[in-house]
Symmetry: C2
Subunit: 387 residues, 2 copies
């Protein structure tokens, strides 16, 4: 039985070209790019080539890109780094109700240190109201952090509008673009973003490598204090294999984005159209303003974890929620924020599509899902079959 992998939001496979450059890199090179001899020079060239490609993906200048160990580090760096550097100017931070745990927990840590956080609500589609952000701003506000696309429901936020507001008020604006960068267009200029977090493993690059875009003159402390790497903004010896892979993945994502998006939208449409076969299923997130590769559904009367396990037995790999929240027994804060009740939140599945998925795989996933749901509902005390 062939595995049908529909969990690209947790991890994308390496693009064959990315795999090639990583293997090539580790086969021929090992130097430290900060060394001053020939072995270091080769590493430096590879490092800066990758930086240029990441910069191009988000319409930034290479020197504004800091390599990190992934989206979580980028987010922690942006939020804690700005909050600590600007502590004398105020102690208030604005975010939304549906951010990733890396944002929420970084803010919780800051709250324990005395910062105040305002969390603006979202509507039933998960949309942040830019006007809500505007109204939340006080003279003490030192940072606004709103995600680009939500990792559980796919909704894409009106970032450019929020960016206009923060720019007007001269407040640094961090945008968590971990699940959107490399998938849909991201432009730090057009969107008025001062800090942008991205991760390579969302666009067929390696896991454990990411970047933080930092607009020049942004007041920010390092998260990783140490050596003079990355313009003294992030100490630590570079993960060269990961960075080289991220550079290639960024290049391919930029070049192939229109075709990839078209393919993904086709798969997503087929999936959503096919859901009609199953009763009592709700689609989560905005119907159009959303990621092309993610469909979140809440299936009544069944548990998400049970569906994942039975689907896995049939070779279909999906997830119940953000991979980073795996192991948590709590209902998703994102789903509760858009008005789902506890049971609906617990019956939620994420189907996330990738470049190599086919319409046939989507069809098989739908058929299997239908069977799995029927099996589970048959043994569910909550489910009363009518008629």
């Amino acid at each position: 039985m062939e595995t049908v992998y529909l969990d690209h939001i947790s991890a994308t496979p390496l693009h064959p070209e990315v795999k090639r450059v990583i293997i090539d890199h580790i086969s021929h090179s090992f130097g430290n790019p900060v060394s001053q001899h020939r072995v270091g020079d080769a590493a430096l060239e590879a490092l800066e080539g990758a930086r240029e490609e990441v910069a191009r993906l988000i319409n930034a200048n290479p020197e504004e890109v800091v390599f990190t160990s992934g989206g979580t580090e980028s987010i922690n760096h942006a939020i804690k780094g700005v909050a600590l550097a600007r502590a004398k100017k105020g102690n208030h931070i604005i975010t939304s109700n549906i951010e990733h745990n890396a944002v929420l927990k970084s803010l919780r840590m800051l709250e324990r240190m005395g910062y105040r956080v305002t969390s603006v609500p979202v509507d039933e589609f998960g949309l942040v109201d830019p006007d809500g952000v505007k109204k939340a701003i006080t003279d003490e506000t030192i940072l606004v952090s709103i995600m680009h696309a939500n990792n559980e429901i796919g909704t894409i936020e009106p970032i450019a509008e929020i960016g206009r507001i923060t720019r007007e008020r001269n407040i640094p604006f961090h945008c968590d673009a971990v699940v959107s960068a490399g998938v849909v267009p991201v432009d730090v200029e057009e969107m008025g973003i001062d800090l942008l977090s991205i991760a390579a493993n969302q666009f067929y690059g390696p896991s454990g490598v990411g970047a933080l875009y930092i607009r020049p003159k942004t007041e920010i402390w390092p998260l990783l204090d140490g050596g003079m790497q990355e313009g003294s903004r992030r100490g630590g010896t570079h993960n060269m294999a990961g960075i080289v892979g991220m550079g290639k993945a960024a290049e391919l994502a930029r070049k192939e984005m229109p075709q990839r998006m078209e393919h993904l939208l086709q798969l997503k449409k087929a999936f959503i159209d096919g859901l009609g076969l199953i009763e009592d299923v709700l689609l989560n997130g905005h119907p159009t303003q959303s990621l092309p590769n993610l469909a979140s559904i809440s299936v009544s009367y069944v548990e998400g974890e049970s569906m994942v396990l039975l689907l896995d037995e049939e070779g279909i790999c999906v997830s119940t929620r953000s991979a980073c929240a795996s192991g948590s027994l709590r209902a998703s804060h994102v789903l509760l924020s858009i008005g789902r009740d506890y049971a609906e939140a617990q019956g939620t599945l994420l189907f996330s599509f990738g470049m190599t998925n086919t319409l046939g795989e989507v069809e098989r996933a739908l058929e299997t899902l239908k069977e799995v749901v029927a099996t589970l509902r048959n043994i569910s005390p909550l489910y009363r079959k009518e008629g």
Copy 2:
């Protein structure tokens, strides 16, 4: 002309076996170990296998090992994480004069937040006096951070003695073992260590991956807040290729350590014996209590940077100091701390040996060094040839 790489303290090449497991991993696997399906299961198995090997290297239990993006992250996590978590118990931290920049700058950041730091001095060999640490302890002391081996002069500190003192006083003890773990024996039990920072690229593993040992019940906050990975101690998707490589490198380091140490000591001895050919050269660090793979020398009347460049032209790769400090124009704080003057510090070179270096390479390096020093002294206004 064959390159002679004598800069292992900046980066070690991948062990062929490590290279093989990384290539094998990225060729066949890509899952996220926290996913709940078959693709994730394979990644989880690889992750936990690597964790066991890292634990065995330092005599720890696997669940006490947290994977990080390298030595710098581990150090930042240990120092900032303990300082923030224990803020209510005190605000005083003890360290030494010769720590790595990741330690010094993390502490500087904490000082800006109101913490107080006592830096104990070292003797002419770079040795910390355990009694000095003991005397520096106050009722406010919440952390002691002393490195195992110094990355610029190689001196190995009396960690077990310091560990006995901190344990007696119930103060968490962080040890930066970045350049020693995997090179010489490290045992968190015998040494009384509560937090230990290590990096794979010091023992033929990949760069950009490391670990932090955390003794159970140590009060510490995460540095990377986010998902529930690593027992909620470190959020972020794992750098699986790096971690798998680190696991294999740790296994090999443990098994091959006696032979490697013998080989390295032989190379180091040959190098030091051969230095007699060059006038006015000082050896830095402790003559015996030191790393087997590092020799630091201060060459009078010449600049380290010039020697690195001329040696590089002849195919000999060395460095002037910690790679992380490359680009800094300041004299090394380590060399000044052991009593070298500014000129001596600026005339310092690090020769760091590796598994594949040969006695012939050491001989060639010495001969080339002799020529390079003669060339530079001939044009140096500081050098007056006598006789």
